[in-house]
């Protein structure tokens, strides 16, 4: 057993972990920082793996921070060494490679793990998840080796759609199987769904909704197709599961740290155990637009949470009020941005929308109690951030509701006080 003492210990090496370290260093240049992560790679950006798969970026571009990041920030990085146990009472973490690390402050940023269903044939060759750099590498190699012509993506959420995009670019005919009545069910409404379906059909993608894969068809452990729960069979050489990601809370749970839909944290990102913090996809956080506690596994939230955790761990004071669900995704070249709660169409919700079917342009803004609660833009997403900003800041739009979807809408339309804030820049005091 190798014993290590550190002031700050970070479990994880992705978005939340990196922003946490940067925040710690902004306040504490000297305190020792150690980092433990299962993956050997230095920090890379997970959302980029689909870009890597289809060759639109090089492996070099995967890295989220420069090579000398660890050295410059004086981080003792134990990469490829998974944390096995948190002993909260003794402020100690044990690793798979035999280190015993005692800490003063701990960040759990272990992210999530993709879900694989327990169905017959799931261990067959040709079945993948799509979550890490290694997954992308495995998929790429398999496509080359097996000369894959036809693939099935199970799950039409964000990861599924990004996988689909990459496979199409590689010339692989791809079907999508989605349990919900349409793909991207949480971020699209019916109208946007129709536009997306049409675009996918034009590109030769078959979508099988309202069903799921019940069996992987394989001979000698080699995949040749899938059977759906409606008994239909699809021939394919490869199956990619993208049915969801579960927060990786095992370590926290075993240590007696409170969990719900992820590790439960205060608005200072501290867990139920003082001195132990959590950030990113592993946490449960407050959804600002719906008021519900949930797991918000999004890149910007992970960054913000990591930052807030880091500042507080280093003795500063910063709060995370909660997050807004938001996504920017492109489906066969059709850009889509969906922010906030675009489903909540109750009696008290006003809906402003505009559809231009010919050019596949769709814009919708939802307003509740004079505040914007959601926006959904398809194929013309320029300047959407102005709405996002208003959602975040809870701006009263009663005076400007008629302007919300006009051509002139912009910074000039915003209520005067808020406009001043926007023009001065976020974080800049005037």
């Amino acid at each position: 057993m190798k014993k290590i003492e550190t002031k700050y210990l970070i479990l994880g090496n992705s978005t939340a972990a990196i922003s946490c370290v940067e925040s710690i260093r902004s306040l504490d240049k000297e305190g020792s920082v150690s980092m433990v992560a299962a993956e050997k790679e230095r920090a890379y950006s997970k959302p980029l793996i689909s870009y890597l798969l289809c060759g639109s970026i090089t492996p070099k571009q995967m890295y989220y921070r420069p090579r000398d990041f660890y050295e410059n920030n004086r981080i003792n990085a134990l990469l490829g060494s998974e944390a096995m146990k948190i002993d909260a009472a003794h402020y100690m973490v044990t690793t798979a490679t035999g280190e015993e690390i005692t800490f003063e402050r701990l960040l759990i940023a272990t992210g999530g793990r993709p879900i694989l269903p327990d169905i017959p044939g799931i261990r067959s060759e040709g079945v993948f998840t799509f979550f890490t750099w290694k997954d992308a590498e495995n998929v790429r190699k398999f496509i080359q080796r097996r000369k894959v012509n036809h693939a099935v993506v199970v799950g039409g959420g964000l990861i599924g759609v990004k996988t689909l995009e990459a496979l199409l670019k590689l010339g692989v005919k791809t079907d999508v199987v989605e349990k919900a009545p349409r793909i991207l069910a949480t971020i699209l409404d019916d109208e946007a769904g129709r536009i997306v379906d049409k675009r996918l059909a034009d590109d030769g993608v078959e979508i099988h909704c309202g069903t799921t894969v019940s069996k992987i068809l394989a001979v000698d452990d080699l995949t040749y197709g899938v059977r759906l729960d409606n008994n239909r069979e699809i021939e394919c050489e490869m199956v990619v599961f993208a049915i969801g990601v579960r927060p990786d809370t095992r370590l926290a749970e075993e240590a007696g740290i409170k969990t719900g839909k992820g590790i439960i944290v205060s608005n200072r990102m501290e867990t139920s155990f003082p001195g132990i913090y959590a950030a990113g996809d592993v946490t449960q956080s407050y959804d600002l637009t719906t008021g519900v506690a949930r797991n918000i596994a999004l890149f910007p939230s992970a960054y913000r949470q990591g930052k807030v955790a880091g500042i507080n761990m280093a003795g500063g004071n910063m709060e995370y009020p909660g997050g807004i669900v938001m996504n920017s995704v492109s489906v066969c070249g059709l850009p889509i941005i969906s922010v906030g709660d675009i489903q909540g169409e109750g009696m008290d919700t006003e809906i402003y929308s505009r559809l231009d079917e010919k050019s596949s342009i769709y814009k919708k803004v939802l307003v509740k109690n004079d505040r914007i609660t959601g926006v959904l833009f398809v194929n013309q997403v320029d300047r959407v951030g102005i709405y996002t900003g208003m959602i975040k800041s809870g701006i009263n739009v009663s005076e400007i509701r008629d302007m919300l979807l006009t051509e002139e809408f912009g910074v000039l339309t915003l209520p005067k006080e808020y406009r001043k804030y926007v023009i001065s820049g976020v974080g800049i005091e005037i």
């Binding site: 922003s19 950006s45 959302p47 980029l48 870009y51 639109s56 970026i57 571009q61 890295y63 989220y64 921070r65 890149f299 910007p300 960054y303 913000r304 930052k307 938001m326 996504n327 920017s328 492109s330 850009p335 941005i337 922010v339 997403v381 320029d382 300047r383 959407v384 951030g385 102005i386 996002t388 900003g389 208003m390 975040k392 800041s393 002139e408 912009g410 910074v411 000039l412 339309t413 926007v422 023009i423 001065s424 820049g425 976020v426 974080g427 800049i428």
Partner: protein
């Protein structure tokens, strides 16, 4: 680092700032060449808003807690080390549009091809922002912090 500021009462809505921004970020830096050969490749990084009775030019505010940097999945959006200006390394940008989704001023724009984003770089290389230099009414001015 300084900031480009605007006086909305002075803005004529002439859009010369947009034109000079385009030229300043073109390969040729020549107005005619730029409009005959490059106009499909470049986007103005400043945008004149016009409501009919007032107009106003908007470009990146170079936030100190920039939402675009926090949301950038590729590491392309970054603070320039010396000045703290918010810049986009277009070689790294993958065009995911997360920055477009979060910029409260709507100041990060898509490039013409839609593959990378385009935003104000304060004309750091040449010194004085082209929009400020060419604003006929001094509606745009540059102020050191």
């Amino acid at each position: 680092m300084g900031h480009i500021k605007a006086r909305e009462n002075y803005c004529l809505g002439c859009k010369l700032c947009e034109i000079h921004c385009l030229v300043a970020h073109s390969r040729s830096k020549k107005i005619l060449k730029c409009f005959t050969n490059e106009k499909d490749e470049i986007t103005s990084r400043i945008l004149v808003e016009d409501t009919g009775h007032i107009s106003f030019a908007v470009q990146c505010r170079h936030c100190t807690e920039a939402p675009c940097i926090e949301s950038c999945i590729s590491g392309a959006m970054h603070y320039e080390q010396k000045t703290g200006a918010v810049l986009c390394d277009t070689n790294r940008c993958v065009g995911c549009l997360m920055c477009v989704m979060v910029c409260p001023a709507g100041a990060v724009l898509r490039s013409r091809k839609g593959t990378v984003v385009s935003k104000c770089d304060l004309c750091l290389e040449s010194g004085i922002p082209a929009c400020v230099e060419n604003c006929p009414n001094e509606a745009l001015y540059y102020e050191e912090d």
